[in-house]
Symmetry: C2
Subunit: 315 residues, 2 copies
């Protein structure tokens, strides 16, 4: 199978929303009137982000999901993506499953694959994703203000617990792993939540590197601090059974791809309504304060020192 | 050095042409009025596209150049790029030089780096580039018509000769290698040529995989054939000294990043004027014919059978 046959067979689908899709030197894209393009690139590397024996269907899903999560955090409507793949060889069984997982999620979010690259090399997956948003409405990191409430979606920490099991730092019974694994293998990008937060949230970020680290990016960009009530953070029943890992997974575990966002306290009830509409747990976990840095308090009001910040590839 | 310090130090520059650049979940980009975005992604992999000891300054240049070349082939004005890097560790000397080479070429073409990703892994460089073009004017592969002239820029084959030397398939004296090496290490994307061809060329492609293979993409997309006069193809004096490699380098050698394009025969003189204005050799090498496939003829009018098609990562 040639490189071009491979692209045609596995990575060429109709792109009615693009002026020009796969098959020329570049794709041609036009955002809707009054919208600008939101653009993000993420790279997943075998041995760093996933294991070589990762289920290719789930990997295809996750490769796109982590990028959709960035659009969710901007409140952008997903439109298009490019996909560059380096791989050791053209394994057709793998490609069939990978592309099926990729396109299943793409279809669910209306994303068209408009270009990319395929090359030989250690397995590496790089997606650039394109969404559209009204520029003035986009959810940025820098808009949090003192007294805003801090919210998080879902139950952060499950993906980190599943990873701890894979890394041998804990041994989970099959039932517990089954509960956590979907967060790691098949994260659900919170695109609908990001769109619902337009005009409501003062800032937003996706939790890819860990709740504290990512909240820290909001604080730094906004020039504010935060007080987080650890007891308020929703923790899954499964993760609660591993107290030795719980705080680390909740505060510093990445890969859940939930959203962390801030809203003015006056809009508290509007957030609860969104939670109900989307059927997605949204929980207030603290508030923005003047100053800088993030203090975390336990149920008794005593400060907690987290063991580490967010995930960092080079620290 | 943390991942975020690294991004800040080496990959964050002003982006006055973007609504939002590096540092949020996504960049926000708006093409100029009446223009659409031309988007392309290319991935360069250590061991496949370059050697581990490649000069990082030149590698930074080439990483962007191969992407600019795709915009050139569309006739698009370069605007922005994202850069995703996987690397084994944070080597500051390497990063300093790599980013210097990248930004030197970016500055020369008005490209702003608006986002990307940095992660640990085998060295891999993935750029997505964004240009803008009037949709109806963009140079596509599918517009060639019978009797159009086929042109090529520069002297294709030099990069392939330099690569043959590095691979030990030929031993070049230092002077000869010095002549060819810039084509391989520091290709000059033909952006100005692509822009000059707007409204003139009926099709265009950049020669990244080899002249015949890439011309073949034009023929397939346009539903036509070609008759190429081998003797007309400009070959460097250096490459002529290696007759055992010449045809292979000229016809099937990739990596020169010249443009191959077609124009109606009535516009022949307009192409010559562009050549003069740009100080860039442009040479008519054949013509489009009805039918399909590409026939190459030697000076006596006898057909030449090239040894292979273009470069293919998986054949």
């Amino acid at each position: 199978m040639s490189e071009f046959d491979l692209i045609k067979r596995y990575f060429t689908r109709d792109t009615p929303g693009a002026l020009l899709g796969v098959g020329d030197d570049a794709a041609l894209l036009q955002p809707s009137a009054g919208r600008v393009l939101a653009v993000s690139s993420d790279m997943l590397v075998c041995g760093t982000h996933f294991y070589a024996d990762a289920d290719p269907y789930l990997l295809g899903h996750k490769t796109l999901a982590v990028n959709l999560s960035d659009l969710a955090a901007m409140g952008a409507v997903p439109r298009w993506a490019t996909l560059a793949i380096a791989m050791p060889g053209a394994d057709e069984v793998w490609l069939e499953r990978f592309s099926a997982g990729f396109f299943a999620l793409a279809g669910a979010h209306g994303v068209e694959l408009v270009g990319g690259d395929t090359t030989r090399g250690p397995l590496n997956l790089c997606v650039t994703i394109f969404g559209e948003v009204q520029a003035a409405q986009a959810l940025r990191r820098g808009g949090a203000q003192a007294d805003d409430e801090i919210w998080v979606s879902g139950e952060p920490g499950n993906a980190a617990l599943a990873l701890a099991h894979l890394q041998g730092r804990v041994v989970l019974p099959e039932d517990d792993f089954a509960v956590c694994a979907p967060a790691l293998y098949q994260p659900q990008p919170r695109v609908a939540l990001g769109l619902a937060l337009l005009g409501l949230a003062s800032s937003a970020i996706d939790v890819s590197d860990g709740l504290l680290g990512d909240l820290g990016h909001i604080l730094a960009a906004s020039g504010v601090g935060a007080a987080v009530d650890y007891a308020a953070i929703p923790v899954s029943d499964t993760l609660r059974r591993y107290p030795q890992l719980e705080k680390q997974c909740v505060l510093s575990g990445g890969d859940d791809y939930e959203l962390c966002f801030t809203v003015p306290a006056s809009r508290h009830d509007a957030v609860l309504r969104i939670s109900e509409q989307l059927g997605l747990p949204l929980t207030r976990i603290g508030r923005i304060v003047a100053g800088h840095g993030c203090c975390i308090y336990d149920a008794a009001g005593n400060p907690i020192n987290p063991e580490s910040g967010g995930y960092d590839h080079f620290r």
